[in-house]
Symmetry: D2
Subunit: 327 residues, 4 copies
Amino acid sequence: MLGRGVWSSLRQGLSRGLSRKVGGWASGEGRKMDIAGIYPPVTTPFTATAEVDYGKLEENLHKLGAFPFRGFVVQGSNGEFPFLTSSERLEVVSRVRQAMPKDKLLLAGSGCESTQATVEMTVSMAQVGADAAIVVTPCFYRGRMSSAALIHHYTKVADLSPIPVVLYSVPANTGLDLPVDAVVTLSQHPNIVGIKDSGGDVTRMGLIVHKTGRQDFQVLAGSAGFLLASYAVGAVGGVCALANVLGAQVCQLERLCLTGQWEDAQKLQHRLIEPNTAVTRRFGIPGLKKTMDWFGYYGGPCRAPLQELSPTDEEALRMDFTSNGWL
Amino acid sequence: MLGRGVWSSLRQGLSRGLSRKVGGWASGEGRKMDIAGIYPPVTTPFTATAEVDYGKLEENLHKLGAFPFRGFVVQGSNGEFPFLTSSERLEVVSRVRQAMPKDKLLLAGSGCESTQATVEMTVSMAQVGADAAIVVTPCFYRGRMSSAALIHHYTKVADLSPIPVVLYSVPANTGLDLPVDAVVTLSQHPNIVGIKDSGGDVTRMGLIVHKTGRQDFQVLAGSAGFLLASYAVGAVGGVCALANVLGAQVCQLERLCLTGQWEDAQKLQHRLIEPNTAVTRRFGIPGLKKTMDWFGYYGGPCRAPLQELSPTDEEALRMDFTSNGWL
Amino acid sequence: MLGRGVWSSLRQGLSRGLSRKVGGWASGEGRKMDIAGIYPPVTTPFTATAEVDYGKLEENLHKLGAFPFRGFVVQGSNGEFPFLTSSERLEVVSRVRQAMPKDKLLLAGSGCESTQATVEMTVSMAQVGADAAIVVTPCFYRGRMSSAALIHHYTKVADLSPIPVVLYSVPANTGLDLPVDAVVTLSQHPNIVGIKDSGGDVTRMGLIVHKTGRQDFQVLAGSAGFLLASYAVGAVGGVCALANVLGAQVCQLERLCLTGQWEDAQKLQHRLIEPNTAVTRRFGIPGLKKTMDWFGYYGGPCRAPLQELSPTDEEALRMDFTSNGWL
Amino acid sequence: MLGRGVWSSLRQGLSRGLSRKVGGWASGEGRKMDIAGIYPPVTTPFTATAEVDYGKLEENLHKLGAFPFRGFVVQGSNGEFPFLTSSERLEVVSRVRQAMPKDKLLLAGSGCESTQATVEMTVSMAQVGADAAIVVTPCFYRGRMSSAALIHHYTKVADLSPIPVVLYSVPANTGLDLPVDAVVTLSQHPNIVGIKDSGGDVTRMGLIVHKTGRQDFQVLAGSAGFLLASYAVGAVGGVCALANVLGAQVCQLERLCLTGQWEDAQKLQHRLIEPNTAVTRRFGIPGLKKTMDWFGYYGGPCRAPLQELSPTDEEALRMDFTSNGWL
């Protein structure tokens, strides 16, 4: 496995030489924080009585710390953040900050429905140690979430955030795609450094890279299923649920892409598609957590209303891993 | 205009003689609380600095108190509840309870994403004076919200709620239709008294009435645009954003339906469709609040990220009222 | 059962006194052909070798002739028209004309993808005996089917058609809703007499009735599932797949609506929803034809790629009829 | 520019050494026809009076013959095939056969709604010179187009076709995605050689390549917007509307991908996304034909109901080309 230094070099080539800058706004020269790399979106472990199990959270992080991830995303969609209270959200971030290696990035999901609540949560996330904030699109009033409304929302958040902001578009959960024209406008904000795009539309991702080329704006794929294709069109990394269970493999795929070994990358990518779909769209967080149990992490139960998998679903989930040689 | 007693009689005929029972579970005889009638889903007024304006809220309620509504819905989708803190949600309900006439029902929206949070909010809503809870479907993980998950969620909430529960399906906001089979199962719970259905699919509404006929289960139309048709297939009332501005007309439509004056009802219904669409799907809460300003209520601003209407939109909104003779 | 004369009177009340006029354009007084009433959309019977079975077609029509239908729709979506050659389409219409009672209307589906082909098919349909043409929206290039394009299409067809034209919107098949503004514009054409709307959105249907009130423009519900609700908002009839098997019941529902017996209408409507869904959206034409076999008509096979029902589906189909007391 | 021989070599590397075989079933060794490469989906030129303009068709082909395309697709979605009569469809294919270079492939769209009509059209297409048939999914009864129905349809067509069959999934037009499990099953048919997939979901495309790896089954991207990403996940070519106007550039993108020059490929891909969207999803065939006029081909009018672009749309179309340096 390549050492940290080599990975950094590899990433710099791909990420257009962005200098890494952690913990604040872009520096005077107009450089934005470099967020290139792979991140697992950490799950939130619960006890049998549905309390947050901080001990298990730390254990998981120690195990995940062995892989050459760029960092961790806390409270992405896989973190069950809509089920956490505000204080739980902050406590989880705080614990992750303490448990994770110092040289990695902590990207914390701070999105709320109102702009004001999002600003407050973002500021608080920074205070408990987040390096950057990932801000999901508000969505309950999706019929009114025009480009103008979303630009207003993100601009306000970015203006007031002490840490860089990453846009987050996840239509499977929100029913809303952050429009390309809004992304392009927002990319010009000095405190907005990139987007996590989970929609899987690489034409759109390529266009975003193209139209934001002058802004040091970075695109992260929101899923391992289209990671190779995302690199091919100019993404610089990925936030991949699958990295919670196949961390080495997802990092290996990154390395193959960064070093131009596209044939091997393709073969590996192919074998990751079904497992990835299984722990995301097909079986959701219950599927991801069940798989974590299989791979030596603590998955455990979800908070209600998310339900455990049925035995039939569990069997299908297992098959998606065994048929591709991962179990 | 008809007096309260006559309205009650009219409603009883339609609502299959359900006896009204406020403030607790169904009585021993198996009768559920009668929720028949028209409800405006009250908006939440904000000051110029986006604070809740409780004074304006009370003024609006006093004005709305003049109409023969059955009661008020607080924190339906039009109440901007996703933008309120938990304490604001409770304070708003508490203020409405004090400001509204004693003989009317207060239905409070208590839905949250997690089952546990929904239970807690429902209990709290009861403590501050809600007569029943309207519980929207959780939706962020809509891909996992199977009938089984939703049945589990609502059963838990209804088991633990000190007040009757009304299901709430609003696919335009949630991207999720509460499945008919789940509704039918849930209708058998003694503490689940009905559903507010905002999807506008009257075939579905008729089927729900048909399949829940033995359960004293009541269907409320979630919008004035299909109110007449809903009565025709067996609904017993409606929660109508339009009733915030055309309260007399919506109540008049109810009366015409209950007394079988279908021709007049049809004419009135026709003139309400465009205004209703304007303050709901077309221009959303900003449109509703702007119209409230025109009709002598306090509409005021929305919380961000909801934006004010553009002058062009405002003109189109006005036209939807003037062309139908309401302005 | 009421006699023909009574039915006519009933309908005239509802259909705003439109005088019936068959076989040509609206007369000088500006009156459009009256199309009020119930129509079964006739299926096309095939032999075991997938030839059109004209004999069985005539037998079905003789049996259907016993009910007080206003007429027959030939080559609606249930007629498998996309599977017929042009000459088969015309021959089927010709045979139906000969087999059906003289005093009923024959509405023939003449829609094709191109405007030119639709014009030619419409003219040919008239020549073989159609009283009016039902013209489905072209849909393969739905992304370009703006209101302007559809207005142009229908205007051309109506200009050149020797018989009145009925618009036909069926989004479940076409993925396209004929926009209300296009319907309103087209309603002013003297040779466009109405719309068959199969979308099931009664708010939309009510708005269409409202906005076309001065044009003698008539709305037909495209399905029995929302027939009562459609009458309630101003429709004058329906084209109902279910009428192929429960003809008496659908006509009875019409009568109850026209005579204002809404309570009985509601009870009957409720019992028709599941059977209707079963023979339309749930099991499609294979379900409808299987049911026809049960009810004494000839259903028979569909043309490929439509497949026979599985035994499981057939059982579910039967249950939708038995549980409502129809089998 | 590379010569034909080099192109062939390049393609063979990528397309897993499939030997080219034109004009019949796979040979005894189980090899399927090699269809790797770039194809413009030829438009159908019409005169001012909407007649097919065969002369202009031939002129366009002569000009397109200058590029290193693998061949031509006739009567894909861009060919307005739903607007052509059966005899026009065949005549167009026949003329293209005569006008095009002998060493290129002619892939003819032969899809119809019924299985029987599709079989007949496929056989006829072969008789007038098609090398392979591209068969779009039937779609009018999409609610019944299960995997089983589609497998039955395509198996029948492939069994009876004298030329190899290419599956064709284009959800923007059909509202239907050919399910992956159906594709995998069909890939085992000796006369089904690949799929043209226009949906743009590269996760799906990668999975198809992965699951059909043992079948010599070839995937063609259905649009230039995701061509690079498609190559990256294992596609062997593309059918690209944009190749009708930017033929050299699309072929250049192919070459860069095949020779592993991914950085240059990415830059070129980026500049093709907006023009590609403009001539497909955004402005459709009217946009493509207008652009052909600008680039020295004959575009001309579409058949109705397709409408000409408005001046505003035409301006936006032009901007999508000029802003990327192509005009």
